[in-house]
């Protein structure tokens, strides 16, 4: 090794050590734990090595429920939030008056605390001995019966969770898409106008390709974010998510580590690895699909 490269490595050393200790080592460790049966933190012992942890969690109804919940959440909220953000951004981009006001309004949820928003949703949706909640009040105006959104049927709870998630992620997506739309040169639209291009064709052939890199970015980060959902469910349904039947994969990992049933790091590690594999697979698929449809040279 030459003197120059030794110096280079010396400069890199702090970062390498830091990342090694806090990022690479834990990653490897989680992978190792996931194959060690009944690992115990306190005694640093384990019963054996094998795929027992995986076969356990894959048969655990709570984990299966968490996977189902997470997938439903992902499949509903990513397209809905991205689509809604696109519609709102297009609308914002086409108005001139009050645009700044609306931009601010749409951005507010982004700077609001998740748990505070959860409390507001509770007020909107929760039934108490005194009131059926604001949403039920509105439902009653149309003659619909009261629904228990927080402690009632699964579909109602899922609806609230999805609504909450969409509402939370919307501002960031609107922010990204409005700036992407604003950066498309007006000349393209003028050229399309002079050529009498129908509005939908302008959208499909000009706007969409031009902002496609931003959309792909939002879809990929949206998938990853939704797969890692946890705090949103806690904010709405409390910490005992298994009992509410609304747990997510990350929630399951957390419960396995610290929750009331707590103290099973091996199961938690296996669940974390399963989540990692799912996210990796989806992201790779996303990238492969988008490569065909995205235009980066603008």
């Amino acid at each position: 090794m030459g003197k120059r490269s030794a110096k280079g490595w010396l400069y890199l050393l702090p970062a390498i050590l830091f990342l090694g200790f806090f990022l690479v080592y834990p990653l490897v460790d989680v992978f190792v734990y996931s194959f060690e049966e009944s690992y115990n933190f306190a005694s640093q012992t384990y019963a054996g090595v094998g795929t027992f942890n995986y076969s356990y969690i894959l048969r655990d109804p709570y984990f299966l429920q968490a996977i189902k919940n997470t997938f439903i959440l992902v499949i509903i909220t990513v397209p809905v939030s991205t689509g809604l953000a696109l519609v709102i951004s297009l609308a914002l981009n086409s108005i001139e008056r009050l645009r700044r006001l609306f931009q601010t309004v749409y951005f507010l949820p982004y700077v609001t605390n998740t748990l505070a928003v959860g409390l507001v949703f509770m007020i909107l949706f929760q039934r108490t001995p005194y009131t059926d909640g604001f949403v039920n009040l509105m439902l009653s105006w149309f003659g619909a019966g009261p629904v228990d959104f927080i402690d009632g049927p699964y579909a109602a709870k899922m609806f609230v969770l999805c609504l909450y998630t969409v509402w939370i992620v919307l501002p960031f997506k609107i922010l990204i898409l409005t700036s992407a739309l604003a950066s498309v040169s007006k000349d393209y639209y003028n050229a399309a106008r002079i050529d009498n291009t129908p509005p939908f064709r302008v959208f499909r052939k000009i706007t969409l390709p031009m902002i496609s890199p931003s959309i792909v970015y939002l879809v990929i980060t949206g998938f990853i974010g939704a797969f890692k959902a946890y705090s949103d469910a806690v904010a709405l349904f409390g910490t005992n998510l298994n009992a509410a039947g609304m747990n997510t994969i990350v929630g399951y990992v957390y419960d396995m580590l610290y929750g009331s049933s707590g103290g099973y790091p091996s199961y938690a590690s296996a669940a974390a690895i399963v989540l990692f594999v799912i996210v990796l697979t989806i992201t790779v698929i996303n990238l492969l699909v988008s490569r065909k449809h995205v235009h980066y040279n603008s």
Binding site: D187, Y188, I194, T197, K205, H295, N297
Partner: protein, 369 residues
């Protein structure tokens, strides 16, 4: 297609909290373009020439005035329905589409009776590509083309739908000098072959003079003169036009008319038929100053620039508006120069007299433009 513009005015209202002045981008502009003509809309930046172009294509609505294509009043017709072709300054080619897709884009918008079959679209796209000689590059993306090739694609896209008129906004400004010469001849050729009425905007007088049938010279939103390039050059309507056309620029002197003669400094240089006494500006083209031992105008000699075919004689004069008085003569005449002063004969037809205050032409020789 004949184009008539009548009394066209565009005012951009003042914006922002501090109310400034309204901007008159075009004030009572009128002109007629004959079928098949190539018109150069010429003026310095900010003179309103691009505004006129945007009014013609319908991207802007006039404050006042009418626009006719042939007999049809198109003033209230939106840009979508005017059927014009436009070449934008930066070409505005869709970067994610290939050359072929870019060119066929306008054809695919045709609806109803005008809707074209797939074969028809292909055929017309190929024709347009051949016309501008880019038929070998159909599968490239715009980013993979040179500036000149992009320009051709933009022209093909504008022509493919057989527009009623073709508008070009500074079509050559993004090209380097050599390509500019080549492309302007190309534009001329394409315009001749298609016979399409064309308006192109430029701030480059060489460009406008070399390819236009007629030029329209604008300044501050107002048309100063309309005419054949040579006529406008030979007989400018005012001082601005005289200064704007011609390279090197015209020499201008502060002078005065006294008793039917034009004086610059102490020298009487021109007869002034019918011009009342008063302050004037005298403009003399560089080729109109001919060194002669007994010439009318005396200047201090500063030097000589040899440029091969011609030489420039550089001199100074106290009444000159610019620091340097320039005369262009052919290289054989160099021998007669010598000493500290040089005298010039003024060639008739190359010198113009303008009012000192308004800049309007005073001597009568201006042709109708």
């Amino acid at each position: 297609m004949k184009v008539s513009v009548r009394d066209l005015t565009k005012i951009f209202p003042a914006r922002g909290r501090k109310k400034g002045e309204d901007v008159v981008a075009a004030g009572h502009v009128s002109f007629e373009i004959e079928d098949g003509e190539l018109i150069g809309l010429l003026g310095p930046s900010g003179c309103g020439k691009s505004t006129i172009l945007n009014l013609l294509c319908g991207l802007l609505q006039p404050t006042e005035g009418r626009i006719f294509f042939g007999e049809e009043d198109v003033t209230d017709l939106p840009a979508e329905q005017r059927g014009v072709g436009m070449v934008f300054q930066n070409y505005a080619l869709y970067p994610h589409l290939t050359v072929m897709q870019n060119i066929m884009f306008p054809l695919q918008n045709f609806k109803g009776d005008r809707k074209l079959s797939r074969e028809e679209i292909k055929k017309r796209t190929d024709e347009a590509a051949r016309l501008v000689q880019i038929d070998g590059l159909m599968d490239r993306k715009p980013a993979e083309l040179s500036g000149g090739q992009q320009q051709r694609v933009a022209i093909a896209r504008a022509l493919v739908k057989m527009p009623r008129i073709l508008l070009m906004d500074e079509p050559l400004s993004n090209l380097d000098a050599r390509l500019r010469l080549q492309t302007r001849e190309e534009i001329r050729r394409i315009q001749r072959e298609t016979g399409i009425t064309t308006v192109f905007v430029t701030h480059d007088q060489d460009e406008a003079m070399s390819i236009s049938d007629r030029i329209i010279v604008m300044q501050s939103g107002v048309v100063n003169q309309i005419g054949k390039p040579q006529e406008v050059y030979d007989s400018p309507a005012n001082l601005f036009v005289a200064k704007f056309l011609g390279n090197p620029q015209i020499n201008t002197f502060r002078g005065a008319v006294r008793g039917g003669e034009v004086y610059v400094g102490g020298d009487c240089i021109l007869p002034a038929d019918g011009i009342p006494d008063g302050e004037v500006i005298v403009g003399v083209r560089p080729e109109g100053l001919i060194p002669a031992p007994d010439g009318a105008l005396g200047c201090r000699l500063r030097g000589v620039e040899v440029m091969g075919r011609d030489i420039s004689v550089l001199a100074e004069h106290d009444a000159s508006e610019a620091a340097t008085v320039r005369s262009i003569v052919s290289a054989e005449n160099i021998a007669m120069l010598g000493g500290g002063t040089v005298r010039f004969d003024i060639k008739p037809g190359k010198a113009f007299v303008f009012a000192a205050d308004t800049g309007l032409r005073l001597d009568g020789r201006r042709a109708d433009g």
